[in-house]
Symmetry: C2
Subunit: 150 residues, 2 copies
Amino acid sequence: MMKKIALAAFAFAVAGSALAIEPDKAIKTRQAGYAYIGWNMNKIKDNVEGTYNQAEVIKAANAIAAIANSGMGALYVKGSEKDVGNVKTYVKPEFFSKPQDAAKYAQAFTKEADELARIAAVGTVAEVKAQHGKVGGTCKACHDDFKMKN
Amino acid sequence: MMKKIALAAFAFAVAGSALAIEPDKAIKTRQAGYAYIGWNMNKIKDNVEGTYNQAEVIKAANAIAAIANSGMGALYVKGSEKDVGNVKTYVKPEFFSKPQDAAKYAQAFTKEADELARIAAVGTVAEVKAQHGKVGGTCKACHDDFKMKN
């Protein structure tokens, strides 16, 4: 399902549908999603490097996975590939011209985030740390290719 | 667990801990969480009022519930009760001086969001619509008392 939605959205297929979102709102909303993911990634990092609180890690991992699975692809609507007024986007144009590459990164992220949520509930600290690293790796891979320096 | 964390955080108890977050980052992160919740609430609204896509509603409801359960209370650190430079907060001072009232709203929101995620998976459109309304009611109740007009 993620695959289908991601591919469709990255090809701007949702533009004009009942669920379309204005480009400036789309930019702000995807940035909000990534910011919230980032905070939860940092919390897990603090936990695996410091005092481990499994309940906190589970909640953080669940938030990351749920956001990853929420259909963020729909936030890459036509018009959101460039700044809208003073709403800046840091997505490189290549993200929009190579939708299948972009979708692959999104799928990798979602897969590893789902696994992190699973491991958080049953795994050791070392296992969570390793899987947290894998999720971070999928973030970095996409940022390296598709995110401008900001 | 939500109750404990919410109360502790609203009383600024996390300040200074390993998990403390800078006030400006805390303001931006909580706004990001609410923005992402808002987008997903709107998606569910579009679904119950238009063409219903259960898979999309489930994913949206899961994102809302996971964010609600992610420990947002930790984002109300000391120093974040007022604007930090050009990072504005729209939380009224009363939110911080009445932490138990604030926590009650947070708990009500989390409870109804959990129920929405549960109903999304098994319920009818009418049931989802009714529960979506209940979640929205908990948003509005808190906004009415604790959010500035912006």
